[in-house]
């Protein structure tokens, strides 16, 4: 039995499936969280999670994806998830779905929110008008699930088992990208549109079944905060202050934690050293491993793990409260300067956690050109949590100029985005729905932090250990010293010693490991600043490259890599000229 969950963006489709099955679909408080069809099996049942859409006969790739899924309708049921607090707009999609004639249940979710807004819905009347079951639930407080489970357990009898042939024709005609006979690309000439009558019917229906209007009602404190944040000047200032506060807090915490953590791990690392020294036959091999393994195991815990957890917590909170999409409105002028619409703030911010899911999140951008610009900026400029941890440690060790590093990265972000967007001129438009501010469900938020930090054990730790062994071996064998010959060259162009240049070159393999080489050198603050900035603005790590190839293709990756190398070199030379 297959059930497909369809609904407007951000109504809680993914959260509902998670609650029903215990799955771990990504849930976040902004429209466009899910961008692909996902399915979850539970017993005999198969639940399909879909990207949120405003209309079945709407433009855009997501609507087409959902239409395609509905076309293959044998044995299919529809669970139409509706935001109870926004009935009128949601009902347009509901009516479109019901016209298909598939067995359908209308689930009014977020009943808790509707109640707090003083909205009461006559569900019986709605059910009679729509001629289908209507069930009110709340994923947040768990109410209404019994009836929903009963419906899902019942074998399908009502309704036709497949889509009405006329509707199939309509669906397939409108499937795929919207374009007219004259154009080869998506155009505005022959657009798929919602029926005017459907819109009217949704309006009358909503007026008919909503019993109490949110009349004179006390605003909750959350709504007051929301009103404040949605003010252009005060709101933007508050959001920017928050971002700055979180950033400084992250840097301070990472530096504060480093000492105690490494002290706590010292005994363990000592034991390891002794063990390896005793177990392996003496020689160069022994020396390298007894030094590299304990070090390679401790460094990730002292500087990378804390950064990953702290950034993970911050990003999850920004996501789940609904603050994150507010940045997309406040900073729309900035994103427009780099040629992308406001939503781009979301993948860019996610990139501070890990850039692999951030590249996936670029799918909430409206076109391929914007996705390419943001993927480039993510790859070259945005530092992920692991890089941030290492950078913070290196900056602290050498007293490097943190503001120079941050400002340079910002300038490169703006210039690179500006340049790329002029190369790909197009009409961009920005329409985005702001979700209500919510108090996060702390348990789910914490689960997200845990899954965000999972990469630490599967990726960061093993890779770092391996790289550290290789590095130590290179140092012991004196290979690094052979780079001394380049000293004149690197000092002249970039103002950094040859060994630091080696660190820059290592970024080609794994970006966040490169600064570790710096930790073993004696650098002046100026040299450290230049080296760390060159490393920060260079190439993406391997998982990100793989993701770019998968989502956008190898050609795009090659352009991004070329841009990364060029920008790193330009930044090094410019800083060498500018810095006193």
């Amino acid at each position: 039995m297959r059930s497909i969950f369809v609904g407007n963006p951000n109504v809680g489709k993914s959260a509902l499936i998670n609650k029903l099955t215990g799955s771990k679909l990504l849930v976040a408080n902004y429209p466009g969280t899910s961008h692909k069809i996902a399915y979850v099996n539970k017993g005999e049942q198969c639940f399909y999670d879909t990207p949120g859409i405003y209309a079945l006969h709407g433009q855009g790739g997501n609507a087409a994806v959902v239409r395609d899924l509905l076309l293959d309708s044998a044995g299919l049921r529809v669970v139409n998830v509706v935001d109870a607090a926004n009935l009128e707009r949601n009902l347009v999609l509901t009516l479109e779905i019901l016209a298909l004639g598939l067995p359908t249940v209308v689930v009014l979710n977020q009943m808790d929110l509707a109640a707090s807004l003083n909205i009461q819905i006559d569900m019986e009347a709605l059910s009679q008008e729509l001629e289908c079951p209507v069930i009110g639930i709340s994923v947040a407080d768990g109410s209404g699930f019994k009836r929903l489970l009963d419906w899902l357990d019942k074998p399908v009898e009502t309704g036709r088992s497949s889509v009405d042939p006329r509707q199939i024709e309509k669906l397939s005609r409108t499937s795929g990208s919207p374009k007219c006979q004259h154009c080869t690309e998506a155009c505005q000439h022959n657009v798929i549109t919602i029926d005017r009558a459907t819109i009217e019917r949704a309006r009358t229906l909503a007026a008919q079944v909503i019993k109490t209007e949110p009349a004179a009602r006390h605003q909750t404190w959350l709504e007051k905060v929301q009103d404040g944040l949605d003010q252009p000047v005060i709101g933007t200032a508050a959001l920017l202050a928050l971002a700055y506060g979180l950033f400084t807090m992250m840097v301070t915490l990472v530096n504060l934690l480093e000492g105690p953590i490494s002290e706590a791990l010292q005994p363990l690392s000592d034991i390891l050293t002794v063990l390896i020294q005793g177990l392996l036959p003496p020689g160069a091999f022994n020396e390298v491993l007894s030094l590299a393994i304990p070090e390679g195991l401790v460094i990730p815990f002292t500087i990378i793990m804390p950064a990953m957890i702290i950034v993970g917590v911050f990003i999850s909170i920004l996501e789940d409260t609904g603050l994150l999409p507010r940045y997309s409105v406040a900073l729309e002028r900035v994103t427009s300067f780099i040629g992308v619409s406001g939503q781009a703030i979301i993948p860019l911010t996610l990139g501070f956690g890990c850039r692999t899911p951030a590249i996936m999140a670029t799918s909430l951008l409206p076109n391929a050109a914007e996705r390419f610009i943001i993927a480039t900026l993510l790859s070259i400029v945005v530092p992920c949590a692991a890089s941030l941890g290492v950078m913070a440690a290196v900056i602290a060790k050498f007293n490097a100029y943190i503001y120079v590093v941050a400002a340079t990265m910002l300038v490169v972000l703006l210039l690179l985005g500006f340049g790329l967007s002029r190369l790909m001129p197009r009409d961009e438009s920005f329409v985005y729905e702001l979700p209500p501010l919510r108090i996060p469900a702390w348990r789910t938020t914490w689960q997200k932090v845990v899954s965000r930090t999972g990469g630490f054990f599967t990726e960061v730790l093993p890779l770092l250990l391996l790289m550290n062994i290789v590095l130590r071996a290179l140092m012991e064998t004196g290979v690094l010293e052979s780079f001394q010959a380049m000293e004149g060259f690197t000092q002249f162009f970039f103002g950094i010693p040859a060994e630091a240049m080696v660190a820059v070159l290592i970024t080609i393999f794994q970006r966040y490991l490169a600064p570790l080489v710096l930790l073993n050198l004696a650098l002046s603050p100026r040299e450290a600043t230049i080296a760390i900035t060159m490393i920060a603005l260079s190439l993406p790590c391997l998982p990100v490259m793989t993701m770019i190839v998968k989502e956008m293709g190898a050609k795009q990756l090659l352009s991004i890599l070329a841009l990364g190398i060029i920008s790193s070199i330009i930044v090094g030379v410019s800083l060498n000229v500018i810095l006193p």
Binding site: G58, Y432, E433, L434
Partner: protein
Amino acid sequence: MKTIKNLKTGDKARITSIDTEVAGSQQLVEMGLTPGSEIQLLAKYPLRGPLLVKLGNNRIAVDYKLAQALVVNEMNDSPARDVLDS
């Protein structure tokens, strides 16, 4: 012809039509900004920034160019405003 750009922050209005000549206007209709619906202008961001519109319990941000597509009729049913106006 009055568009939401001509409204003041806090003004309520009814959408009378959507200018389909403006690129991207179809998206507005899909998001519920249809002729006949009531909206309130919540905020206008400076430097030709986006406009924030309240529709039912939704808040929708629309960029400056696209806002041109939302043709409205101002509603003067709020008594507070009448006092201010006179």
